[in-house]
Amino acid sequence: MNGSYVDWGVVHISVANLVVIGVMVALFLLAVLVPFHGPGSSDGDAS
């Protein structure tokens, strides 16, 4: 079974790999933007 590919100039990449890269970029952006409320966060650590 042939996979689906995206062709953009010299770029030739499978849709599956493109989706993985997209998910990684999304995770990176979320990790930077979403507040972290762990035990060491500034509101929870009074000491």
Binding site: F28, A31, V34, G40, S42
Partner: protein
């Protein structure tokens, strides 16, 4: 004159400051999701090594004939996928933090070498699948590796050699570099934000707004 054991003990004790090897407190700026990916990468590596050890017990063709072997093989594959995905996100985060600042160049370099070593280890894993996929990949790889002159001692068409590189030499290399990387992270601490003023460094004695100073103190 002290013995070599005392010298080694003193050297090891000096390498990482007291209390920093397995700390339970971190600077306030570490409270961000982007700092989670380094430890996720490490957790994935532990699963990779654990499943790899189980696969070594079953043998290289175990996963073709056993449901359990297939499961362990798949766990090995997917932990590697997570290992690389989290490592690359960790790399992106550290790149935009300019995490080589403050005498952390060696930490950055060991991370980069660990990444390259991991890629090589993964490639030899593809060559150890004992199926047509590994044959195809070996056929594609041999021309490139012969062209750069290493085919004589690194023969991708030799599954036995590739398997031994995959399960001994390369994991040993990656393991040693990862340990060095972690020791260096603990030795120098997590890199502070670019605009933070770190206590003890030039500029720290100047009047600093309280929020910035708070960011640079532990706890």
């Amino acid at each position: 004159m002290s013995s070599w054991t005392v010298g080694l003990r003193t050297r090891l004790a000096r390498t990482v400051p007291p209390g920093e090897l397995l700390p339970d407190r971190q600077p306030a700026y570490v409270s961000s999701w982007i700092y989670v990916f380094g430890v996720l990468c490490l957790a994935s590596l532990i699963v990779v090594i654990g499943t790899g050890c189980v696969l070594a017990i079953g043998g290289v063709t175990w996963w073709h004939t056993s449901g359990l072997g297939h499961f362990v093989n798949s766990t090995h594959l997917w932990s590697v996928e997570l290992f690389f995905a989290t490592m690359v996100i960790h790399l992106w985060g550290k790149f935009f933090m300019a995490a080589w600042r403050g005498k952390r160049a060696l930490t950055w370099m060991t991370g980069a070498v660990a990444f390259v070593g991991s890629v090589g280890t993964a490639f030899t894993g593809y060559l150890s699948q004992t199926n047509f996929d590994s044959q195809w990949i070996a056929g594609q790889a041999k021309d490139g590796l012969n062209a750069v002159g290493i085919g004589a001692f690194f023969n991708v068409l030799d599954p036995g050699q590739m398997l031994l590189w995959h399960v001994t030499l390369l994991p040993l290399l990656v393991g040693v570099i990862v340990v060095a990387h972690i020791v260096l992270v603990r030795r120098h601490g997590v890199v502070p934000p670019i605009d933070a003023v770190v206590p003890g460094e030039p500029g720290a004695d100047a009047a600093v707004p309280a929020p910035v100073r708070d960011l640079t103190t532990t706890g």
